[in-house]
Symmetry: D2
Subunit: 347 residues, 4 copies
């Protein structure tokens, strides 16, 4: 089969011919219909320091996708051939402290398909049966291909109360944009979005933000304070990973508020712990991955009920052999979600 | 001033001339603009056994209203004359175990204005300043008059997770209807409503129910089980107080589900504790009143964000001297919310 | 091997010679060191209506035990031969709604080893690897044999806040007694126990109850109300399954309190829903099994820290061939935990 | 009356003769029996930058005490003359967003008696009736004098689950020491304490810490990691306010753990947000003051049940005129709680 692989510890990737993965008794082989490119894939492609420390070439990367069940291991009973599926690509060990506590998403021995194991930028991908997620009828293919990042958004928004809460979304990349849609769908009060990229700022309004401001243009903390009678927002959803924006976010947060942090700063952040967390009695949640599989259940429910319009976050759709164009587009920093189709045709 | 009063321990009520209430240092005098009739008021009017045991005539009844601040006690600083307000009519003692725990809505020494103290079916009503709720600009007068029952609905819906949850609303009187609107606004999944009254069943659909069935016509438990792939609903909102409907509600609830009970059965209910709660690992919340004042904050947020269309629940609007017509309409069992205007004009 | 089996749909059981179970790739074969008899086993032995409807003879019963890993399936990596283990005997499907939500203990397709599948009253028992629980060093064998019912107690006590809460434990059979020990170890305030059996009442005090009263001798509701200044207890732990005792428990519960129900009434219970749950704003939890595996982690921590003295709950220790004596002792209704040893020797 | 007052914006304080405070209709006058010195009082005495920015001399300071009700305002019914009381010294406004949400301890308009208003280093102190806390019989006077800091400890420990959790207490000043006692009383698993002061380290063991290590002597992170099989602790209780110790605390915390932060760093802290909070999915609570009045209820319950031995945290007991000696002792950094008695006799 064809697979997009990192062959060397260096920038770039190659389309290779490799054997179809062999599966064990508890595995499923999935024929990929559509894959989606994550920011992490761009890091791997560009070979940044994190990638250099984590990725062991050769590796087929890619971890956002949907497809059709092709083959079942001998012990698998939960899916059948032909099922339309996606998958949680974080594979937990099942026996560490966190796994035993019902927190498999933060397993101490987590392996990620597409990072530690061969991923989905290929015609076929091998997945443990317990990680397969069956797609409910009515959910379109391109939505099914981005359940992984949508799950990040849903996990972040629903990590605390959201109904009737005022919200600030900091950073409006694809996950931030999806978080806006999810928060509004779940009954939040006034939602403020901040973002420096004007195109994304416009999309934020389109996704449902009541106000969308650029910190390059206005004092966003002051604006939010004014709009909330000086109180600040009940909920901070941090999606930027930008140290300065993180600080702005905390300055917007009311005393007693909730901050859910998903964005990943690339260096240590200096923090006024006293003013921003302690005296403020803030509750801060670090968010990693998706709850397995509560988040998937929530996503499915929201999608089935037609509550999420994600169309604005989609961008290019290309066949796998056009991967160069795809990554180039993402390197501009302006793109939405880019889909890759392993077959030589796309919808 | 004019006040609608229960003068005798018997059916009916009388419009009387009484002195304007005198207020203490921590009280506020409010000029009533619109009052709304609760089911409890109908019980008092009809003088049912509960009323006979609780109400001590003479009493001005009525506990749902909005109005304008007329006069302030000497210690009051939180409101000012002319403010447009409603009020939480449950007056807590401030020093019992529950009050100390932050659960004033279930104070051991609770007094209810309109039941234990003179209420709002009058030109003026006396309210402790700490029970006053200022109405945010943009919330219309007739909505402001029914925050008390809307609060019951919001308290019930938000007593547990609601986003992405499948829901059954049992009983579609005014509070059940408002609960449908609140649950949908807060991102619930499929919502099933049950109700025997055809007019209310139609309103349930209008308020946003995905399915609305009469237990007089179909096997509602079977319908819900089928529609949920045999699982049952995540959330049961019990608004009927009907013993049989309560049982149906629990039969619809999935294992591990949440039941919030607001409806008040008039006699003991026989319960299959094992199947319906214990083996099912259900979480059951008894719901009383509104959280003071978290529920009021939530209501205000939902209303300000324009998420609740409550127009379908409103019915007659009459001046106070037409109280006979008002109560007669409610005694049919078909009416929505009936508003009473103390002045001789109505909007 | 020898196994205690229900061979006919009738009272009694037989010690039979049967083949050692064959295991699949994800299973573990465990050599039983000590088993313990549950009330459910007594129902099966006595062949009550529940057993007649659920059990399909022939069946090796028994589901409380500890032992040593004898053999591993080909896919098993989480344990090794010789490990000292117990097991969660509730086997979940992994793919129903509840399993996906992280609630495997209320799986829709739950199978119970010792009820639906051959159990542990035998020399060997087959267990799925994911259900195996490794015993931490320092936990004695007889404690390791009763982790299943201890887990019921821990799950019930820790299903809500317990530190600094006043508590009523209703029913002081072995699980009720263990619940007393757990609640005290976790910092509860005054703990009241009720029980009609005088021997168990004495044990309740020994386990740490501050007060232990028999409803046959005193008005237990009145006693608890008096001792709490009229307020009632914060937490009700219902371990009796007796309809009248359940009602007493709810009458003891304060407004806003938490009731966790584990005891299983054998018939429907008539309930004053309004006074006992709705107006009281009670939170009621149905408790089933143990959380998989949060409860097991909690038990291990409490045992390792030496916080639980369970010695008083143990009673007879017999070899498996003396099963008749064991069940006869339990049929008196006075016994504590009875241990069975499959080998012809016991400690 | 005599009162210890800050008369000038400078180091030190003076014992002055001032009028007994006049009370309003909702106030209570309390005759002080014993006061206790907080670290904050030492800051005020020393006139550090925080004090210079916040305190407006002249001011009677002091906010930890117990005493006897001397006089009641006309509207006060919740206490009576002669009651033995302490008080929550954080006075909330009752009408801001947080007050309305049931979070009065983080009121936007909070005033603190002893910081913003005249405090308890005096013969009498004026307290709003709603802030008075009646002392239960059996709680000794010296314990009643330190309920304020004990409340900090209880609030911190009980801000999340503690039973069966492994715990690290970072910093063993008086509140850290009390937190150890509270955590052990509430059923925590292994408790690790860290502290540089050898005397406090010894007290930590005396209060119940299973291990107590000095970061000046051993690699405390490594020790905790080893002792927990590499997992880290479930709960971090940060009581030091030391930036380096805070980092150590987070490095000890397991993925999915809970960090409750009470210690107040005097400058911004640099934080590896990704490793310590985000990827770790940590839950972080800023802790301020005490919950009003849930924490007071919890304290009372723990004290009444005899679960807390706080004797080791007490140090000097002096009459108010020996304040110089008292503050000098605290300035050494080694002292425990120092009590001041306004009368010329002490127990």
């Amino acid at each position: 089969m064809k697979a997009l692989r990192k062959m060397q510890p260096a920038q770039g990737a190659q389309l290779e011919s490799v054997p179809i993965p062999e599966i064990g008794p508890n595995d499923v082989l999935v024929r990929v219909r559509a894959a989606s490119i994550c920011g992490t894939d761009l890091h791997i492609y560009s070979w940044d320091p994190w990638s250099a420390s984590r990725i062991k070439p050769p590796l087929t990367f890619g971890h956002e996708f949907c497809g059709t069940v092709e083959l079942l291991g001998s012990e698998v009973t939960s899916v059948k051939e032909g099922d339309f599926v996606s998958a949680e690509m974080h594979v937990n060990c099942g026996h560490c402290h966190q796994c035993r506590l019902g927190q498999p998403h933060i397993c101490q021995n987590l392996k990620i398909i597409g990072i530690d194991l061969d991923g989905c930028f290929a015609e076929f991908v091998k997945i443990p049966a317990s990680n397969i997620w069956k797609i409910q009828p009515g959910i379109p293919e391109h939505y099914a291909a981005i359940l992984d990042p949508l799950g990040n958004a849903v996990h972040t928004v629903l990590s605390g109360p959201i109904a009737a809460q005022t919200v600030a979304v900091i950073g409006c990349g694809p996950i931030g944009l999806m978080a806006i849609s999810v928060a509004k769908a779940c009954g939040c009060g006034t939602l403020f979005a901040t973002e420096v990229n004007p195109r994304r700022l416009a999309l934020a309004k389109q996704m449902g933000a009541d106000e969308a401001w650029s910190p390059a243009e206005v004092d966003v903390v002051k604006k939010v304070r004014e709009a909330t009678g000086g109180t600040g927002v009940d909920v901070l959803l941090e999606m930027s990973g930008n140290p300065k924006a993180i600080q702005q976010g905390f300055h917007m947060l009311r005393a007693g508020g909730r901050a859910s942090l998903l964005g990943i700063p690339s260096q240590p952040v200096t923090f006024d712990l006293v003013a921003d967390i302690i005296f403020k009695s803030a509750t801060v949640y670090g968010i990693y991955g998706r709850k397995m599989f509560e988040t998937w259940v929530q996503m499915t429910s929201l999608l089935k009920a037609g509550r999420l319009n994600l169309e604005p976050v989609f961008d290019l759709r290309l066949t796998l052999d056009h991967f160069g164009e795809a990554f180039a587009s993402l390197q501009t920093g302006h793109a939405g979600k880019v889909l890759l189709y392993p077959k030589n045709h796309r919808p």
